[in-house]
Amino acid sequence: MGSGYGKKPVGKMVIMGIVSIALYTALLLNQETFNNYFGRGGLYTILPIATAFIFSFIHGSFIGNFWTVLGVEAAKKKEVE
């Protein structure tokens, strides 16, 4: 929908997208293992917390670039170039 200004971070988006998909594939193909360890509590508490941060960072970065590439940005960021 955007007309697009300047360079778009297509490369970054693709890399982060691939890493993100890999993470999700790993999680969903090994549900049993994940549930087993992550549901243990105690010292294993760190696992879900760390996972949340990692997924959030990788996936968040992918999506940030994704919307930028699509040209969806905040109102009035730039004037016409």
């Binding site: 549900q31 992550f38 509590g41 879900p48 905040a74 109102a75 009035k76």
Partner: protein, 388 residues
Amino acid sequence: MHDIVNAAANFINLDIVNITYLFLVGFVGGLVSGFIGSGGAFVLTPGMMSLGVPGLVAVVSNMCHKFPKALVGAIKRAKYGQVDVKLGIVLGISAEAGVLYGAHIQENIKKAFGDAGSNLYVSAAFVVILAVVGTFVLRDAWKTYKSGSTHEEEKVTKIAKWVQSINIPGTMVYFKSLNARISVLFTIPLGFATGMLAATIAVGGFIGVPSMIYVLGAPSLMASATELVIAFVMGLGGSFKYAMHGLVDIRLAMIILGGSLFGIQLGAIGTTYVKPFMIKVVMGVIMVIVLFSRALMVPVYMSQLGLIGQLGDTAVKALKSTSFAIMIFALALGAFIVLKAMWQGRRAENCLHRKLSDIAKCNYGQSIVMGRYKKMLVAIDGSESSMH
């Protein structure tokens, strides 16, 4: 460690349909939460519960997906100059205490009454809070709309004026979102209630955002952005607390995160396109619809606990599917309102990007274009959104 066996039994099977559903629920939840800043968990928690996830696991998994997401959202909105970090951290600290207390209650209820008790507690809390806050927010949005001053700065309420006028030596702190010095003592009960609610239904924003607006006197855009800081602080603490007992279903949390990160960034971008009162409208409307969805489930849980007579299978099924349908309706409506507002804002903006002579080609009346333009001038003047 004692909950290990129970916890494993709490994790439902996920097939491709469930995963897709959770992803979509996550997207809309994120969209709404990026827009109104309250985590969107009132969409996500019931959304998960509709799949048969126990109330407590839904709340916990929600919280675990929420804190990193809140961080992403807060950073994004800080770029638009909407975040008051100091207020967020001050409220976040007392919210943390509220989370720990609320989590304690949750665990005791689950121990004493099992999943049905926990479900009833979560649903009843939803209904009461949604009814009170939803009505209040909608009434306020309606008043703003009727007064016709939708472009004007929001007025500071009488309570907020009073709060800002009280001087308790040694406790006064200046907050940029309020543009005033207030006593931090006022933030403690607000933060605590926010945290307690977050541990109960995973939506602290229902108290946090309105209390910042109405009690402290923050503009709604800043309140909803600052809430993300609070959500991060208390979400991290709460997740730790619950994960210690093995209650986090990481699959649920991450699938919802996957969808909601798409939504939250879009929602945050959306806030820069709309009038402030629209945020209140979206918040209020969704609250009230979700209220009905959860209220329908209350008799089901009550009958499971034996508090009322046994409900027939048909009645239970009918209540469950109606509740689910209403939920879906709320999701779709929320997404529609936010996306439509963004779409219109972008079209108007694109018109402005073109040469003056081309403006006539746009499908917008001059008054709309000028209205948006005026708003943008205000935004460019006062925010960082135009700087980067």
